[in-house]
């Protein structure tokens, strides 16, 4: 009985949403799906493009909007605040955020308030404050929200979290493209690219792609050595230092004589 009611409700909802709205889907591509961090890596630009596939002509009267997000691997973060104690400024309070992305970019076709409703933002976790998972913050400090706001501000100033409203170009409600700039200080891991189609602030279709960011060449070798053979890596570092010191000393003696 309940199943039948649910089915009926779903049918009504589908009809109410209109025939055109459900029939629009994303066909997307990336200029590259892997980024190699080599020694001379100085940031990278990724082109995200695509088209909207339709079964019939556009019937909705609200304009189509596109939102694109790029999200780096997440880490827990500890945010600290300094206070004056006995005349000196020291870290007194700290708040831990369970999971915060190491990079996050949002690009849209227009102002976020117009292209996205709060309820859909909450469901799909699109904007930066919605992505950060901060469970049980209030237990750590009374003004925990201030810590998270300060963190968002710091990352925004560092160019790590960015919102580019109007950076997505949309042609004839069909073709869209945007460039997302990846900074030089990337953490390696999987970068999630999400594309959302919205009408009247409601998400009507989503697509997901992954960009693999990996250290390559010398970078990869040195990183793996430090992780897997720490003692050997430490001894090699010291050996390198001793050799360099000896070489410089000998070279200078030869120059002088």
């Amino acid at each position: 009985m309940t199943a039948r009611i649910a089915l009926g409700l779903a049918l009504i909802a589908a009809l109410w949403a209109g025939p055109g709205a459900r029939a629009e889907t994303i066909v997307a591509g990336l200029s590259q799906n892997a980024v190699s961090i080599t020694t001379n890596f100085d940031g990278s630009e990724i082109l995200i493009y695509g088209a909207v596939k339709r079964d019939g002509p556009v019937t909705a009267n609200k304009p189509l909007e596109v939102i694109i997000t790029v999200e780096g691997p997440s880490l827990p973060m500890t945010i600290r605040r300094k206070d004056r104690r006995h005349g000196i400024w020291i870290n007194t309070a700290a708040v831990t955020v369970d999971s915060a992305p190491t990079f996050y970019a949002v690009a849209t076709t227009g102002p976020l308030t117009r292209v996205l409703k709060d309820t859909d933002n909450l469901r799909h976790r699109i904007t930066i404050p919605r992505v950060i998972r901060a469970v049980g913050l209030t237990e750590e400090a009374a003004d925990a929200a201030d810590f998270v706001l300060a963190y968002l501000r710091l990352q925004d100033e560092a160019g790590v979290y960015r919102v580019d409203q109007g950076a997505v170009e949309l042609l004839e409600e069909t073709l869209f493209r945007t460039d997302v700039e990846l900074p030089a200080n990337l953490t390696d891991g999987e970068y999630r690219v999400r594309i959302f189609l919205t009408r009247d602030g409601r998400v009507i279709d989503t697509q997901e792609r992954v960009i693999g960011v990996r250290k390559a060449g010398v970078e990869r070798f040195l990183f793996n050595l430090a992780q897997e053979q720490p003692l050997l890596s430490g001894l090699l570092s010291v050996l390198m230092a001793v050799l360099a010191g000896w070489l410089a000393s000998t070279a200078f003696r030869l120059i002088r004589s």
Binding site: P230, S237, V242, G245
Partner: protein, 305 residues
Amino acid sequence: MQLYLPIAEVSVNAFLLLGIGGIVGFLSGMFGVGGGFLITPLLFFIGIPPAVAVATGANQVVASSVSGVLAQVRRRAVDFHMGLVLLLGGLCGSGLGIWVFARLTALGQVDLFVQLSYVLFLGLIGMMMFQESLRSLLRARGNAPVRRARVHTWVHRLPFKMKFRASGLYISVLPPLMVGALVGFLAAIMGVGGGFIMVPAMIYLLGMPTKVVVGTSLFQIIFVTAFTTVMHAVTNQTVDMLLALLLIIGGVVGAQLGTQVGVRLKAEQLRILLSLLVLAVAIKIALDLLLQPAELYSFTPGRLP
């Protein structure tokens, strides 16, 4: 030319790193200090994560000390006997220091403790050296007879006497052992080689001639910082070899040039310059603690311990 550093995970200008290594190496060769108290704050300043800066800084100090000490060995300005005795004390002290450091980390106030000990020791030693070297500089200018302190104190009545030929000393091994242990302890806590404490301690506490002080200090710093580097590599994986290589190339060249300049300067001038440098760093750190910072919030990856 931008370079991406594999462990620090930041992209930095290669020539900037060569320059920092060079400046610190130059001062290191000139004064016989490792330069750890300079290179670590400089690396923080250009955006290297603190843990990587401390560990890699120690590695750079190994190189500039080797380069400097070889130049001193040729001038017969290293007292190996004294160096070994100091080192023995130093290793005991640093073992204790690493234990205390771990206890403080567990309590969560290690940053503050490190900063306060920097201000206290750098300030105290800088002031003492500045006062003393200024006085002897003025005395030398006035052509007054220079008196060397040959007063016999309790130090000279201790047992286990040993001859330190290069220093021209015949004293008990206990004071150098104690000095070494004290320096090793502080070095482990403050994350530096300890040259800036060792140099004045050798001059004022042990009465060693300034000529051999620089070489002997560098000699024992090599071992202390090599030990620190390996410890950091094993426990935290924070030694960035690419960063170290650039700092080292700058550092060893700088150290050679610094030694050349150091030889030409008078001992008093050398000491007055070192004391000014030490005081400048102490004042900078003290101001950081006393003035309201522009940004109250900071963040680090990871959870609270």
